[in-house]
Subunit: 476 residues, 2 copies
């Protein structure tokens, strides 16, 4: 038996190396030939599919419909909203030849779809009766990136982008906040990732938005990840693209828009928040495999143990659990334990000849590594319950980690020391100016992740001027 | 009440105009700014989502997993398989600028993904233990088209492309045929579209394939639509991309591959097969709305009828039917009847004051326009059953139409006459040469749609040489 196993770097020793190695070893993604492009491999994609299904159900439950808009955006469309094009122009990929002919106008591969969608909405919206428009799109987008990392920052990525249109500013704002909450619920309930929500500072706002709201998560290495954003676009795009409607008073006015997005980047967040020195740790709600049966046999009882393991697998699968059984004969049980821990399978079900004799099986949790011996007859019910317990515990652990790594800074020196030595979220008052924001960034590489919804006043640590509390961190 | 209604052109009078108008009026799709690009609107997309879900379940049930591969393919990759690049080169869109810099090598937007996927597979496959690879991808692809029509032929379209790798030629062939059957089942069971299956002639083969199998459907205007294809790629791509594996005898050999695709083009087929002068006709299995409650009120009983209609809607929805209730006060019931017929909703549930009094409702089928009065207590059960009956009847009707429009030609004159005057499928022997195939195409615009699996010998109508039966038609 060849047991040559590549050893995973310790997360605590070199989180960056650990991340890249884990993505490869767990077969989550692989590098493409064009810089910054990746293939999402079946195991990684199945996680994304489950997150996608969870979010999509939430979108539909809040009245949204899916649609699909073109990939290619003419340059003139992108240019209509001035801030928007300025924000995205450096990252665009341009199609200049089609069907063997030089194109008259070059076409951008969508970096986001506001500009092309507005062109359709202009025709679809005539009267207040056509509003609201509540549309979402699942698609690929492309932003030419210099430094990339699988899932976290890739040139091409998969995401959903919601684009809604409303008759009033109040309605658009309510929608923006509703979708922020939908994201938060998905992070908490499906991905077991606690996120802070709040408002972005003007410098971090989406190009063309009136206000950007964000979900910020804290990774295991103390850096923040902007996990999803929801934008109140006001009338900016409606004016730039000349979208109008006849209101109930028969007046022609501009509507109010929102957009909100959530991408495959969150899979990177999932790896970084929950993963440990042994590998991935997947929340049961979105784990492709919730439990794996590993038979423990010797030469003389292989037949019986194999049969029993297969029977147990079928039984648990029929009970509605997403199961695997590892009947591989090349590797030892120990090798398999490591492999399935690396893959983050929430529970391992061990079954050996003694267990069969006693009518039991051994459950080993991935999150706590606790073992329990469970009567075979109670196994399905116990496993089902365990899924809920693990899901809950993973969220609790991540929340505790965030709590430990969220610190109040009383002086700028303390601020700098925390960022340099401990990282995590630092809570400190900010005077609201781009100048102090920039100075902090230059000094510490920390940026304002968000302004909490509950306003708290205080004195800016840099300028001493009055301001309100902001949450800072170094970010991915 | 403004009842100005655009009138749908009769399908029999001008099928082409009818098609374009229906796509617009039923809000299925809309034209994009770049030639040949379209937005799929929510109603059209919801049909696609249901087809997609149906197919995806079938793929998973046959052991396939989803993954995602990059959109951009370097030119050198496309050139590796000679026939492949020759087939696709005229239709490519090229990215030449990224991140404000001219690229060293231009990048094609994928027209199909064999070439880039092979590059990944080359690294993923080392030993026979890595086989088979059974991967599918749902994505957008782009082929620069000159003449386009929503769904049927668009530059960008959505599809799935399966890409599998096997140790033996037999296994690859079995997979190719299995997926052809999966497509056929989806067409029959979900879309109520009867398809003929068979082999493509060499001239219609996928660029780079050893053999292409096809599902061909007959549209309402007597033209054929290639609805889905499954390709046995043999070792062509494995050799071109240098994919090898160590077999059980420890010899390094090339594996065998397949690919198979099904696109949004089928939504065009759905419209053309089932639609009639009143509009769309959707099979219940994939209809976004299976039944719509239309209340029939007058001024004096509006409140009561409205309440009852809402109650009925909730009741039927709770019973698991996909329901709508049309409470619009702008339009008359007659207007609504037309509207929901145009949208192809399988059943209309009429509810007026007399029906409420009698404890009944009126069901009107979209497919046969038959009416039935059903006791309110039995309504949910009756509607559920009706869904099955309509689904079955739609397949039967389409199959009967195809049967009537499939003709045996005994002479070339007869062949030409059928194609010119009646269209439909024409069954005739073919000598297997590209010359007669081309002559028939030049003379009649008819092409060989497929060679049936059951070989039938006969004399070629053009050359008089011995051959085997082929199915000809003019195609979309």
């Amino acid at each position: 038996m060849a047991e040559a196993v590549e050893k995973l770097t310790k997360k605590s020793e070199d989180p960056s190396k650990w991340y890249l190695q884990l993505v490869r070893m767990a077969k989550l993604a692989d590098y493409g030939p064009v810089r910054g492009t990746f293939a999402i491999r079946p195991y990684g994609f199945e996680i994304w599919e489950r997150v996608q299904r969870d979010l999509d159900d939430r979108f539909k439950a809040t009245g949204h419909k899916n649609a699909y808009f073109p990939l290619l955006i003419p340059e003139s469309y992108l240019k209509k909203e001035a801030e928007h094009v300025e924000g995205f122009d450096p990252e665009l990929a341009w199609v200049t030849i089609g069907g063997r002919e030089e194109l008259e106008e070059r076409l951008a591969i969508r970096p986001t779809s506001e500009s092309i969608i507005c062109d359709f909405y202009k025709n679809w919206i005539q009267s207040y009766r056509d509003l609201p428009i509540l549309i979402n799109q699942w698609c690929n987008v492309l932003r030419w990136e210099k430094v990339t990392r699988p899932f976290l920052r890739t040139s091409e990525f998969l995401w959903q982008e919601g684009h809604t249109v409303h008759a009033t500013a109040e309605e658009a704002r309510a929608e923006t906040l509703q979708m922020l909450n939908v994201y938060q619920d998905c992070f908490h309930e499906a991905m077991a990732i606690p996120v802070l929500t709040g408002v972005k500072s003007p410098s971090e706002r989406f190009a063309g938005a009136v206000e950007t709201f964000t979900c910020e998560a804290l990774m295991g290495d103390g850096r923040a990840l902007q996990a999803a954003t929801s934008h109140d676009l006001g009338q900016n795009f409606a004016k730039a693209f000349d979208i109008t409607f006849l209101d109930e008073q028969q007046e022609r006015v501009h509507p109010y828009q929102t957009s909100w997005g959530f991408s495959t980047r969150t899979i990177g967040g999932l790896i970084l928040v929950h993963g440990d020195d042994r590998g991935l740790k997947l929340p049961p709600r979105i784990a492709p495999t919730q439990a794996v049966v590993v038979p423990i046999w010797r030469g003389n009882n292989k037949g019986e143990v194999r049969r029993e393991a297969e029977a147990l697998y079928s039984e648990l699968k029929d009970a509605g659990l997403r199961m695997e059984v590892d009947l591989d004969e090349e590797h030892s049980p120990g090798w398999k334990f490591n492999e399935h821990e690396l893959r983050g399978v929430p529970v391992r079900v061990e079954l050996g000849p003694k267990d069969i004799e006693k009518g039991q099986a051994v459950l080993v949790r991935r999150d706590t590594r606790e073992k329990e011996f469970v009567d075979r007859k109670e196994l399905a019910v116990r496993l089902q319950a365990l899924m809920g317990e693990i899901q809950e515990n993973m969220l609790r652990q991540a929340a505790a980690f965030r709590h430990e790594n969220t610190r109040q800074a009383e002086s700028y020196d303390e601020f700098k020391e925390i960022i340099a030595e401990k990282r995590g979220f630092v809570v400190a008052p900010w005077d609201g100016t781009a100048e102090t924001e920039q100075k902090i960034k230059d000094d510490t590489k920390a940026t304002i992740r968000l302004l909490p919804f509950e306003r708290q006043d205080g004195e800016d640590l840099v300028s001493g001027k009055p301001g309100q509390t902001a949450v800072f961190a170094r970010a991915y």
